[in-house]
C-alpha cells in the first residue's frame, strides 16, 4: 500500500525537515493487508529512531501522541491500512 505521512514539527529532525513523506508499505505477517504497525515500521526504516519516539517498546502509541489515518483516530497498531492512506502524526500535550 502507499502511505503518505504528515510529519509534525517535533519529528522533522528525523526527516531532514520534510513535512510530508511517501512510503511503500508491505505486510509483514500473513497474507492480510499491511497494518498501522507495518506503516510505522516502514517509517522507522526510512527515518531510523523515529518510531521509538512515538511508540513504546511494547508497541503502544505513547500517551501524548495521536495518530490519524485518513482523518480517523487510530488507536490499534494492528488495524489494517487501505491501499492508499494518509497518516497524520500529532503531538497532543497541554500544560507548561
Amino acid at each position: 500500500m502507499r502511505l503518505t505521512v504528515l510529519v509534525p514539527g517535533l519529528l522533522r529532525s528525523y526527516t531532514a525537515g520534510a513535512e510530508r513523506v511517501e512510503l511503500e508499505v508491505a505486510a509483514t505477517t500473513g497474507a492480510g493487508a499491511p497494518t498501522l504497525a507495518d506503516g510505522l515500521g516502514a517509517l522507522d526504516r526510512a527515518f531510523p529512531g523515529l518510531r521509538f519516539r512515538i511508540v513504546d517498546e511494547q508497541g503502544r502509541i505513547r500517551p501524548h501522541i495521536k495518530l490519524f489515518v485518513d482523518g480517523g483516530q487510530a488507536r490499534d497498531p494492528a488495524a489494517p491500512l487501505p491501499a492508499t492512506a494518509t497518516l497524520m502524526i500529532v503531538g497532543a500535550l497541554s500544560g507548561g
Binding site: 519516539r53 512515538i54 513504546d56 517498546e57 511494547q58 503502544r60 501524548h64 503531538g91
Partner: protein, 380 residues
C-alpha cells in the same frame, strides 16, 4: 571529569565547565582559570526535558545527555566533540518487548570503569539498568537486574514511588574492580553486585524506612543520592528520604549521621556531594521534609551544610545565599564538586539559578539565573 584534560596536561590552573541539565534543555557554564568569570552558553535541545548530562572522564570529549519531551519517548543524545555536534543514540534504553514495561525516561548516566572504554550505564524511570559498550550509541538491558526474580519485590510497581516516577540512580562503579557496583533506587533501596551486574543483593540495614510498617526492612527504602569517596571507595554516604547515612565497607549496616543537623533544619534533602580527596568531608543541601513535604529550603533560608568529620558534626554554610524568602531547593543530581586544590562546589536550583563556591562552601555567588527548573549539574 573534574578538570579539562587540556588544562591538566599543561599543568596550568584547571578550567571547569558545568553541564546544566534542565526541564527545558541543556546549558553550559565555562569558567576561567580562577573560577571567577563564567560564560553561559546554550541551549542545546531547547524544549527537551534533560534529566542528566555527563562527560566521559576517560576521553574528556564524549558527552551524553538523557532527554525526552512531553510528547516524545526517551532518548540519549551523544557528542564526541564536547558538545559542538550531537547525534542521537540509534538504540536508546528500552525494556524487553515481552516484559510489558516501558521506559518513561532515562534518569541517570554513569561512565563505566576506566579499564572499559566506551562502557556506560544508565538508570531509568521506572527502575531499570542499561549498559552501552559503544559510548552510548546503543544500549542493552542488564538482565541480571531488569529480569531478576526479586526485582518487583524490591521496587514495587512501576506506578509506585516518587512524584515523577520511581527511579534507578546513583550507579557507582568501584574504581578498583569493574565487577563491583552499587545502585540506588527510589524506591527500592541500595543494592550491590559483585559480578558485573549478574546478580544483586540489598544493602540497607540500619537505614530507616518510616513510611513502611517495618521500620528496618531489608529493602524498599528511598535513598535520594548515594556516593562513595573517590579517595576511599569503601566509604559510602547516602542522603535518604529518612536522613543521612554513612557505611564503611565491608560492614553492611549503615550509621545514621544526620543526628547532628540542627533540629530546625533536619536531615532531609536530595543531593550529597563529596570532597575529591578527603573522605571525611561532604556537603548536603537540606530541605523541608516536614508535614506535607514542601520540598523547599527550610524556612525559605537556603543553606549548604558541611561536615569535615564523616558526619559527626555539621556546620551551616550560607554566606552569599539569600537570607530569607528563597523557596527553592536542589535536586539529587544538581550538586557537585570540582577537584581544585580549594574545592569548588556547584549547585542548581529548582528556580533556575546556578550557585558556586570556590572556597569549599564558605562563600557563595550566583553564576546564572532565570534558567528553567534545574535537574542536574555536573562538572565536565
Amino acid at each position: 571529569m573534574a578538570t579539562s584534560a587540556k588544562g591538566a596536561a599543561k599543568g596550568s590552573a584547571p578550567r571547569v565547565t558545568l553541564l546544566v541539565a534542565t526541564r527545558k534543555g541543556l546549558w553550559t557554564l565555562a569558567g576561567d582559570a580562577a573560577r571567577r568569570t563564567w560564560k553561559l552558553s546554550g541551549p542545546h535541545f531547547l524544549g527537551n526535558i534533560v534529566h542528566h548530562a555527563r562527560v566521559d572522564p576517560r576521553d574528556g570529549r564524549t558527552l551524553l545527555a538523557a532527554a525526552r519531551t512531553g510528547h516524545l519517548g526517551p532518548t540519549i543524545f551523544r557528542s564526541t566533540d564536547r558538545g559542538r555536534t550531537w547525534k542521537e543514540s540509534t538504540r536508546p534504553p528500552a525494556f524487553a518487548a515481552d516484559s510489558g514495561r516501558t521506559v518513561d525516561h532515562t534518569f541517570w548516566l554513569a561512565p563505566g570503569h576506566p579499564s572499559q572504554p566506551g562502557v556506560w550505564y544508565a538508570g531509568t524511570s521506572p527502575q531499570g539498568l542499561f549498559r552501552s559498550e559503544d559510548g552510548g550509541a546503543t544500549w542493552s538491558g542488564v538482565d541480571g537486574f531488569n529480569a531478576h526474580p526479586q526485582r518487583k519485590a524490591w521496587c514495587g510497581g512501576d506506578q509506585d514511588g516518587t512524584p515523577d516516577g520511581p527511579k534507578l540512580h546513583s550507579i557507582l562503579i568501584d574504581p578498583r574492580d569493574p565487577a563491583h557496583m552499587y545502585i540506588g533506587m527510589s524506591s527500592g533501596g541500595v543494592f550491590e553486585s559483585v559480578d558485573g551486574g549478574g546478580d544483586w543483593h540489598p544493602l540497607n540495614r540500619g537505614v530507616r524506612a518510616d513510611f513502611q510498617p517495618d521500620p528496618d526492612p531489608e529493602y524498599g527504602h528511598d535513598p535520594h543520592c548515594v556516593r562513595f569517596s573517590p579517595a576511599l571507595p569503601d566509604r559510602l554516604y547516602q542522603q535518604n528520604h529518612c536522613g543521612i547515612y554513612r557505611l564503611d565497607r565491608p560492614a553492611t549496616r549503615w550509621t545514621d549521621i544526620g543526628g547532628g543537623m540542627p533540629k530546625s533544619v533536619g536531615p532531609i534533602g536530595f543531593p550529597l556531594a563529596l570532597h575529591p580527596r578527603d573522605p571525611d568531608t561532604l556537603w548536603v543541601f537540606p530541605m523541608d521534609g516536614s508535614s506535607v513535604w514542601p520540598r523547599v529550603s527550610p524556612g525559605g533560608k537556603p543553606a549548604v551544610y558541611r561536615s569535615v568529620n564523616g558526619g559527626r558534626t555539621w556546620r551551616r554554610q550560607a554566606a552569599g545565599l539569600p537570607a530569607t524568602q528563597a523557596w527553592w531547593t536542589v535536586k539529587r543530581q544538581a550538586m557537585t564538586t570540582d577537584s581544585a586544590a580549594k574545592v569548588g562546589i556547584y549547585f542548581g536550583t529548582t528556580s533556575g539559578e546556578v550557585w558556586a563556591s570556590r572556597d569549599e562552601g564558605e562563600t557563595w555567588r550566583c553564576l546564572a539565573a532565570h534558567l528553567p527548573h534545574i535537574y542536574a549539574v555536573e562538572v565536565a
